[in-house]
């Protein structure tokens, strides 16, 4: 019997949405970070993480929306050009 359609946690991670990026990706400079965590808090994918004053993005999932760069109070995140593959 094909059971009721259910799915276990973590299965969405099989979908590498980093491939969605066309024009820009964030570069975490890790120079002026004050550890406010706003980048990790606002990321729609939840793929920004770190501790203390060092944060970075998981490029496998980052869609390049740019919210992290805009909310950073110290402008410590730069949206750089995404290389066309």
């Amino acid at each position: 019997m094909f059971g009721p359609l259910t799915s276990k946690p973590g299965t969405s991670k099989n979908n590498k949405t980093g491939s969605w990026r066309v024009s820009a990706k964030p570069k975490f400079l890790q120079k002026n970070c004050i550890g406010c965590r706003m980048c990790a808090i606002v990321c729609p994918e939840g793929c920004v993480s770190g501790a203390g004053k060092k944060y970075d993005v998981d490029l496998l999932f980052c869609k390049g929306c740019g919210n992290c760069a805009l909310v950073c109070p110290k402008k410590d995140i730069e949206m750089t050009k995404e290389e066309q593959s």
Partner: protein, 394 residues
């Protein structure tokens, strides 16, 4: 224990004996007494269940969907407009394979509004994937609820079951019923257990979006399960007989069909009337019989074929219509004999008892009379010609 009891109250007691954890329903005639009695049982500590009063049938079905999804045996009841209002939830429940049991007190469909009995409501949901069992009398209505939960919750089945009982005739009729004991029911019906549920210790997502790559298989799976039910139901009724002492086939019942020249095929309480007429006519030497269909879904095609293949004339009674085409039950009975070498010479279909119009013994005798060599299609019985004379005012 034998009781002289109203149908609704008997069904409520049957449900109580099944120990559901959550009950949710919205009032609609003629289901109301069932639900009122259950509310009373909960209030009196006779039934330990969460009773959720909702603001519509759509929500009643949604509440039991949610509670069943936590792994809790759940119950609801409705009729007619209420069943139609919850229709999308009904399909949803079957698609999610949640083994809910629902009582449908069969009632006609608006418009015009009519609170009396016919079977249009449940028959209109025959595509949903639910199992649909029809009761002939109050005893059977009671017994079918135990069988329903046992069938629904079977791990190889996991489909919801609708127990259909004719509104007013069975819900408000009073008959002698042999009410089982809690021990008997507990012996027959184990506790509900499933791995497919909402549980913080084992999280899963239920009710996902299924694209064209996945949807068809889920439908096919339910279709295959209905085939399994055709095999399983007679086993479950055999087990039932061992514990409760009453025998049901589960799929069909043949009443004096063996040597019959004319057989009526019907569902529900009208079968009681038909059996009385058969007894009368048989005493006069007429070879007549009844094939009662208990399980309308899954449709017992093979059982119907075996019962009727040598019967010369068959009359199918439909207490529902499919306006613009052949009435539902008869079109399915006819389909059984497509491309078969052995089949009745005549299969006529009669539309009877819509909107609570009485089906009397005279009506049944009339049908046997009309069942002749000329095949009749969608023959409406007991119409009032004076009403048909009225025409649209210009």
């Amino acid at each position: 224990m034998k009781e002289f009891i109203e149908g609704s109250l008997a069904v409520a007691e049957a449900v109580r004996l099944c120990s559901p954890g959550v009950i949710s329903a919205y009032p609609i005639t003629p289901q109301t007494h069932i639900v009122e009695e259950l509310a009373s049982m909960v209030a009196d500590n006779k039934l330990n269940a969460q009773f959720v009063n909702v603001e519509s049938e759509h929500s009643a079905a949604s509440v039991v969907l949610g509670s069943e999804a936590t792994g809790t045996r759940s119950y609801t009841a409705t009729s007619s407009q209420g069943l139609f209002y919850m229709m999308e939830v009904v399909f949803n429940i079957a698609g999610m394979r949640l083994p809910i049991v629902m009582t449908c007190a069969n009632r006609a469909i608006s418009a015009p509004i009519n609170i009396w009995n016919d079977q249009q409501d449940s028959i209109s949901l025959r595509d949903s994937g639910w199992v649909q069992l029809f009761a002939e009398d109050i005893q059977e209505a009671v017994d079918l609820h135990f069988i329903a939960y046992k069938l629904a919750e079977d791990k190889s089945i996991m489909l919801p079951v609708m127990v259909c009982m004719d509104g007013f005739i069975l819900t408000h009729g009073i008959e002698t019923v042999d009410m089982p004991s809690q021990e008997q029911v507990d012996k027959y019906l184990p506790k509900y257990n499933t791995i497919y549920k909402l549980d913080v210790t084992n999280p899963m997502s239920m009710g996902l979006l299924a694209g064209p790559d996945y949807y068809m298989e889920t439908r096919y799976a339910i279709e295959e399960t209905h085939k399994d039910i055709l095999k399983l139901l007679p086993k479950l009724t055999a087990d039932f007989a061992k514990i409760f002492g009453r025998t049901y086939n589960g799929l069909v019942e043949e009443y004096q069909v063996k040597d019959a020249e004319k057989v009526i095929v019907a569902l529900g309480s009208v079968c009681g009337t038909v059996k009385e007429v058969i007894d009368e006519l048989r005493s006069k030497g007429k070879k007549v019989g009844l094939l009662k269909i208990t399980s309308y879904r899954p449709f017992p095609a093979e059982a119907i074929y075996e019962a009727l293949k040598n019967v010369p004339k068959v009359a199918v009674l439909d207490r529902a219509v499919s306006l613009g085409s052949f009435a539902p039950v008869s079109s399915e009975v006819k389909a059984v004999f497509t491309n078969k070498k052995k089949k009745p010479q005549v299969i006529s279909n009669f539309v009877v008892g819509l909107g609570g119009r009485d089906i009397t013994k005279e009506s049944i005798k009339e049908i046997f009379k009309l069942l002749s060599t000329k095949e009749l299609t969608n023959e409406f019985i007991d119409l009032k010609p004076e009403l048909l004379k009225e025409s649209y005012e210009q």
